[in-house]
Amino acid sequence: MTNRFLARLGRIYLGLILFFLYAPILAMAAMSFNASEFYQLPFRFSTEWYERLWRNDEILTAAWRSVWIAVVVTVLATAAGTAASIALFRYDIPGKRILQVLLFPPIAIPWLITGTAMLIFFFGIGVGRGTPSVIVGHVALALPYVIVVVTARLSTFDRTLEEAARSLGAGPFTVTMRVTVPWILPGIVAGALFAFAVSFDQFVVSYFLSEPGDTTLPVLIYTAIRKGFTPEINAISTIIIGLSMAIMLVAARYAKFGGER
C-alpha cells in the first residue's frame, strides 16, 4: 500500500521535472505566436513574427550558413570518427587507453577555454576568424561524440563475423565495407545526427571563431538578445529548438541509448 503510494508520488515528481524542463520552452514558443511586440497578454494569435523572419535577410543568411556548416561538419566528423572507432575496436593498439582518454578534453573542458584557445591559435598561425575556423573547431567538438556512439554500437558486433568473411577469402577492405560497416550503420547514423546537433547548436566556439557580420545563427541570436528581446527571436528560437529536438529523436531511435539491454 505504502509502496503504491510512493510509486504514485514518484510519478508526480517525474511530471514536475518534465514541467520544469518543458514549460519555459513551450512558453517561449507560445510567445512567438503572440501579436504583441512587448509580450503583452492577453494572448492574440498571429504569425506576424514568422513572416518578418522570412523577410529578414540577416537571419536567413545566418540560418543557411549554420545549416551548411553543420552538414560539412557532419560529413567530416562522421568519416574520421567512424574510421577511428573501427581501428580502436579491431586492432590491439599500444596505448589504446591514452587514445580513449584523449577524447575527453573536447567534451570535458569548458567550451569557453577551448574556444578562446582556438581563437588564439588560429590567429597565431595566420588563419584568423571565419567560417573555415568555425568548421575546424566544430569537427573537433563533434568527433568524440561520433567515436563514443559508433564504439558503443561496435561493442555489440560479433568479431567472428569478420573472421568468417576473411576465411571466405575477403580482404580487409571488403570485410570492412561488406560486413562491419553494414552492422554498425545505425551507430554511424546516430553519430552523424549527434555531430549535426553539436555543430548546429554550437554557440560558444562559433562565437569566438566567427567573423562579426558573418556569423552562425546562435551567435546572431546572442547578439540580438543582448540588444533586447523581440518576438522575432522567439520565432527563430522555436524553429531551432523544434528542429534540434526532432534530430535527436531520430538519433535516439538509432542509438537506442538508455533502453533495455
Binding site: 524542463l21 509580450y39 569548458p110 577551448t114 588564439i120 535516439a252 538508455g258
Partner: protein, 287 residues
Amino acid sequence: MSGSLARTDRLRALALLSPAYLWLMAAVFLPLSAMAFFSFLSDVPFGGRDWQFTLDNYRAFLETPTYATLLWKSVKLGLIVTALSVLIGFPCAYVLAKVVRGRSREALFLLVILPFWSNSLVRIFSWAIVLRGNGILGSTVDAILPWDVRLNLMFSPTAIVIGLVHSYLPYVILTSYLALQAIDDSLIEAARSLGARRRTILRRLILPLAAPGIIAGAVLIFVPVVGSFMEPRILGGRRGTYYGTVIEDQFVAVFNWPLGAALSFILLAVVLGILALASPAIRRATL
C-alpha cells in the same frame, strides 16, 4: 603471427586513426598549448606589436583581488548549481530506473534527456521570457495570488541558477539513471529479505552503488558551470559578472588576449584538478 602482417595491420590502424587524432591535435591540443604560450606574453605577437615573455598576466591575477573573487564566485555558482541538480535529479533518475516499468520508461527517459540535446542558448532565452518583469511567471503569480506581488527574478543570481540547473539537470539524471539501472533488483530484494527498510537500503546499498554515476554527473555539471558566461550575461544582466564573463571580455571587448589566456589557463588548471580528483569515479561510471 608474422612480422610483416603485424606491420600492415599497424599501418592500417594508423591510416584509420590519424584523421581523427590529427584533427584533435590541430584543433584542440595545439590551441591549448598556444594559449599556455600566450599567457606568458606581454602583448599579442602579431600585427607588428612589441612583445616579450612576462609573468605579468599571472601577477595580475594574484594582485587584483577582483579576479580571485570572481573565480570564487564562479566556483560557488558551480557548487550551488551542481548540488541542486544532484538533489533534484537523483530522485528523478531513481523513479525512472526503479519505479517506472515497461515501455513508458524508455519514452519518459527520452523526454527527460531530450532538452539537453537542444540548443542551450535558446533554452536560456526561454527562461528570460518567463522570468522577466511582467513576464509569464510574474503575470501568472499575479493572477493566482489576490494581493499585488511584483515578482521580478530577472537579472538576479536566482535567475542564473534556475537557468543553469535547467540546462544541466539532464546530465546528472542520465549518469545516475545508468548507474541505477545497473543495480540488480535482486540485491534490493536480498536486503529486504534480511530485514532492511527503505532508508537503510538507500543509504547502505543504492547510494554507494550509484555513487560513481552521481559523481560523474556532478563533475560534468560543475566544470561547464564554472566556465559559463552566456547564461550569466543573459539572465544576470549587469549583476551577471562572473569569471567566465571576464574572460569573454578580454577576447571580445578589451582585447587583452594574453591576460585572457592566463585567466583561461588558471580556469583550466582548476577544471583539470577537479577532473583528476573525480577520474576514478568517472572511469567506474563509464565502464
